[in-house]
Amino acid sequence: MTAVNSIMISRTTLVIGSSSLIILSLSILVLFFTTGTQAYATSIPVFRPLDHVYNLTIDNQTNSIRYGFSPDSNNTAVVKSMSADYDSKSIRVIIDDNSTTTEKRFFIVELPRKVIDANTTAIAGGCTASPTSGDSWVREHDLEYVIVVSRVDSEGDVAVYDGSISEECGRDARVLSIEYLGGRSTIVIQGTTMIPEFSLSLSALVLTLAMLGVIGASLAVRHRAISV
C-alpha cells in the first residue's frame, strides 16, 4: 500500500506544479513512516506494480514470484528467464526491454523470505512492525541482498551497471526495486539462505524424530518382554 501511495503522489506532483514540493515531502514522509517500509536509495522508490508471476523452480518445487516493471505502459519489458542457483543462494533474471523510453526503468520483484533471504545472526537493520499497526514482528537481522545488474556491451564485454536499488522490507517478503537498462539485462540477486536449505533441515529433523520414536517403541517392547 505504501508503494502504491507513493506512485500516486509522485504522479500528482506532475499535475500540481505549485504544490509539488510539499507533496514530494509528504511522499518521502509516507515512505519512511509507514509500516515495514525501508528505502535505501535517495530517490523516491517505486515498489509496484507486481502484476506478473513467474513460477520459479528450486529443487523441483515451484515457487510463485510476483514481479512487474515501471514504467511499462506498452508491455515492452519481459522476463525471458528466472533461475535459481542453490550453491550461491542466488536468483538470476534475464530481462528484455525494447521500449524507447528515456525514463529510468525499474524491475520490481517480491521475494518471499522462505524462498530467498539475506540475514545474519547480528542485528543488522531490517525492519519491525509499526507500533501502531497492532501487529508484532521483528526482522532486525536482515542484510541487504547483493544485487548486480549487467548487460553485454557493444564490444562483447560484461558491463555491470551501477543503478538505483531500493527495498520495501516486510515480515514475510522483501520487495526490491532495481534500476535496469534497455535491451537485454541480467540481474543477479544473491542472499544467504534459499528454500531447499529450510526443507533439508526440516526433513532431517522429521526423519530424526521418527527414528527416535521407532527406537523408543522398540526399547519399550524390549522392556516389556523382559518384565514378562
Partner: protein, 307 residues
Amino acid sequence: MEKNFRNATSLALLSLLVLTIGSSLSAMTLVTPAVAVIDSTKPFLDETDPFPHLRAPPAPDEIGCYSYTPETGWIPAVCLPEEVLETLPPMTQGGSYGVNGVTSSSLTKNHGETYINFNEYSGETDSKLGINAWSIQLNTNMYVASGTTYWAQFYVTQRDGGSNNVCVSSVDVTHGFYNAVCVNGTLQTLHDTWAGYVTGDITDTGNLKTTFCAYPGPSCWSVTRNDKYGLSGDWKESSGTILGWAGSSTAQFTSPTNVLSVVYLSPATSASGYTDYTTGEKNNLNAGTRSTGCNSGTCTTSWWSTN
C-alpha cells in the same frame, strides 16, 4: 531368541539413526577455522628502495590471466567467465570517504601500487558481507575523453567462504558501467603480520595489468587486459588502501588494528599527497599523517591507520 532379535533390531535402528544424523550433518557446510601462518620473512619497507617488496617477477604483458608461486613461476590461469563476472558487484564510485593518494602533474604515469602491511590485527567484518570480506584497491584519477568521464581500478576483493577475485576494471563513470576482467585468487586470512600489494600497470603494448601478491611466498595472481577506455596518457594519480568488499560497503576492523598503507606512482620525480573521494568503499580506521616523497623516479605516500 526373541530377546536377541529385539537387541539386534535396536542396534540396527540405532545405527540407522547415527547414519541419518551423520548424513544430515555432512549436508551442511562445516567451517574449519583457518590457521594463520606467521611468516618470519615478511617484507618490510626499505626507504632506500622504491620497490623492496616486489619479490615476484613481473607478470606477463600478454592479455590473459596468470598465477604465480616461487615454485611454478608465472603460469596461465583461467579468467573468470561471463556468467561469473555478472555476479560480481563493482567497487562503486562516489563516496564521501577520503582515501589517501599521491598526485603528480604529468599524465604519463604507467605504474601504481597499493601496499598493505598489518602490524596488529584483531578481526574484520564487512558491513554487507560479514567476516573477512574486504578489498585492496588501487584507483586512478578520473579522466575525460570525448565528453565521457572514465576511471580505472585495480583491486583484489574477497568474501569469506566465497571467492577472492583479482580484477582490472575500466569504468565509464558518466553512464555507470563497470567492465571488469578478473581471475580467481586464493582466500586470504589476515593476521598480525599479513602483507600484500596490488599493482596497476600500463604495459609497453598499451594493455592494463594488475597483480596481487600476498606473503608468505609470495603467491600472486595477475590479469592483463585491453585499455578499454584509454587510461594511457591520462594517468596522474594513485590512491588506495584496504577497504570494504564492494558496493560501498565498509571494512570494520576490530580494535586494536594497526596497518601500514603505501601508495606508489611512477614515473615521477615530484608529487604531493592528496585525499581522494572517488571510491565508495570505506573502512573504520583512523588514518594517521601521511608522508609523501619521491625516490628514483617513484613517488610514494604512506601512513599508518589505527583504531
